[in-house]
Symmetry: C2
Subunit: 119 residues, 2 copies
Amino acid sequence: MTDALDTSLAFTPRFDAAGLVTAVVTDPAGALLMVAHMNEAAIATTRATGKATFWSRSRNRLWKKGETSGNVLHVREMRVDCDQDALWLIVDPAGPACHTGATSCFYRRVTDQGLERIA
Amino acid sequence: MTDALDTSLAFTPRFDAAGLVTAVVTDPAGALLMVAHMNEAAIATTRATGKATFWSRSRNRLWKKGETSGNVLHVREMRVDCDQDALWLIVDPAGPACHTGATSCFYRRVTDQGLERIA
């Protein structure tokens, strides 16, 4: 079933009870870098500055990615999914996206024996 | 700061209050197809069957993607992020991933003028 949100050309993010949508971040080649959350202010800041800004649930404040590390994410494009509760940010990363220093937060594969580090 | 979860080779998903983690689904080329949620049973079913199974928050039940449309997602690989609250499924889709018939749920770009359909 499709509904109005699926076909609308109005950007009307569907925030959850905490006022957040999921933000998926990839590089232009499609490598998944990280997953975070955005509230209305984070979306507005990201659109205004061109640098990815999220809502930190642990720190309970706006969080410009790279504000301390310098590893900002320059946003090339933002897309929204069918029911407007998830965003896709296609970015040029200035450095490793993960706080561990890994290029991507997804550096471990799930195997039958547990996790396997792949990057 | 890194902590034990960042380096552990034990797969211990960090479920939220609703018992869910975020699941990001891409094809092998890196195209973002959809974002959904998985609980422990969805993860176990996906690993056992090789077909992506999620937790439907709207229907409040396990949801094998493609169970009605036939557009199942064959899972090549599952990865987990640094703090183990998000999964990346790399899949071979049997058909369009979006319920609207689009290849990807992310068929609209956010522009200054609203949304622009791109697929």
